[in-house]
Symmetry: C2
Amino acid sequence: MDLEQLLPRNIQELKPYVAGKTISEVKKEYRLNRISKLASNENRLGCSPVVKDAVLRALQQIQDYPDPIAGELRKKIADKHGVKEEEVILAAGSESIISILCKTFFKNGENAVTADATFVGFFVQAGVRGINLKKVPVTSDYRFDIDTILDTVDENTKMIYIANPNNPTGTYINKNEYGKLLKGLPEHVLLVMDEAYFEYARSVSDYPNALENRPENVIVLRTFSKAYGLAGFRIGYGFADERLITEMLKTKLTFEPTTTAQFAAFAAMDDQDFIERSVETVKKGINRITGFFDSHHIRYADSISNSVLMILESEEEAVEFTQRMLESGVILRRVNAFGLPNCIRITIGTDDEMSHFEESFREIYSIQKS
Amino acid sequence: MDLEQLLPRNIQELKPYVAGKTISEVKKEYRLNRISKLASNENRLGCSPVVKDAVLRALQQIQDYPDPIAGELRKKIADKHGVKEEEVILAAGSESIISILCKTFFKNGENAVTADATFVGFFVQAGVRGINLKKVPVTSDYRFDIDTILDTVDENTKMIYIANPNNPTGTYINKNEYGKLLKGLPEHVLLVMDEAYFEYARSVSDYPNALENRPENVIVLRTFSKAYGLAGFRIGYGFADERLITEMLKTKLTFEPTTTAQFAAFAAMDDQDFIERSVETVKKGINRITGFFDSHHIRYADSISNSVLMILESEEEAVEFTQRMLESGVILRRVNAFGLPNCIRITIGTDDEMSHFEESFREIYSIQKS
């Protein structure tokens, strides 16, 4: 079998995914009891307790295929946001919607413009579709550079991808920048605003809620994986002009998201207290960790998300710090695949988890820096 | 917005998915209490009772992303089938694995060869990827025509897709035909054997279990959606040479299948009594419905699957029969999208559901045929 002959070039060039260690593997390998998983921007409070009963109801029809358009949930989301059902798509997480965007809209040879330090899921899905990706360097404060992004658009550009707040940096484009982006957006270009971390960001006064200012070529993504704490179910949603949604529905897998995901998300939407509690926990945690970093002269990016980007001097330091933290039971995420080899993304956890982080940090640096 | 300008031609040419009516919609619209859903080849016995506890365990970590390679389940499947873990891929149903195959292996301009009356999911995913599909007519007894399929392969053929047993016909290629297929298979062509209905077929003496005779360019698909009754969870699996699996893992969504799906499937594998009971129910049901058809001079295809293809005189008759059955609470599946406009696919249900079918059938035809 000649793989080089068999495979398209863009697939050959993709790197295989390397799974991180699971909690139980870390426990076993390093003989630890206390583990703080601050690696994947998940909700460390879990999810709403209402989810359990919803899932038990879902099990009563689990032998049947899911509702392909997730009709009841779609209506609930449309009503909540004051849009038509036909402007909403549900799929197996934002990553799946990004895959759908790549499959639906790109002709061979077209390109997409985004930052060089943003969600790796977009890089991967663009690679799978063989899309020419134009990555614009982030600014010195780790933010999307809107002017340069607009300058980079050409006649073959099909899409601009902005994560707002951005992942892994936690930074955001403000209302002024969003306005500039809309003003400079050519008609033939789709603008994707990935608002996976919307719930954490919405109270910031100059954060632009793209759903409230959405021309026909703007697509807004949201998810149940972050503040709602439903990552294991795989369910996200998107808003767009209904003509675009009609096309996207053609390329999504017929039966995503799953029945359990649909039932869980439907129920979870009713427990906004859980969302507020989750957001509050994260805001306190951000203040705590940035205060801690300030007092220890560690650089970081200003975050309105549920994680903080820790900026180290070099890739080597990032590798070593991540490894040392792992050995003390704190699982962090290096973000080299996101374009930032010298940085580490730290998910904000519970008070106890943040204490674990601080204690381990002190241990490591008292050895290294004393 | 100029959609014709915006979209690739293959996407424009795809038909939007039209969802069938849900059980509750049918109940409401026709004021019915008794509904028999024999439309989607689901397991009418439900799923194994062990699934519930497994799902409750899964909920304890539902805020976290799923294990990307479904490691524990992958190992269990590999061990059961005597292959290496690296030869197994898990994904969100067979449809997702078919999508992965289309994304991973096809270069622009390459084609796939299959039957004109087979699983619509392959037609759709090939269309999404813009693959040139060469559809070979089925034989007069609704079977894959292996000789003509081999003759249709050319230097641009990347894949042959065979569903065995076939969906929607329930027919199969036998050991002799499978041997012929392997013998005639050029080295540059991948052969996909979709065995979604394997559990129903395996006891048939000349049914070829492709997993037991699998050269390096053969890929075998199985699923938990049919006999296991887990369709709502979306989980299927595939076996292939580990070099092929490595490439397929690059294009699958990072976190499919879901955590609940992984836990449910892991537990369900231990309840083989449930599978045997399900298969037994279907075998009895096939005998019953084919006897019924014989006595009413209705044509059908010989099935070793969990459904029977009913062959009517015309598309009009199929449309009308399906509608009349729906009005009496029996939901059936027209298979025009599968290439058979004059046929109806009838999932084998419980005794009570098969009685419902027979009673409604008699009512309809005593009016039409008397």
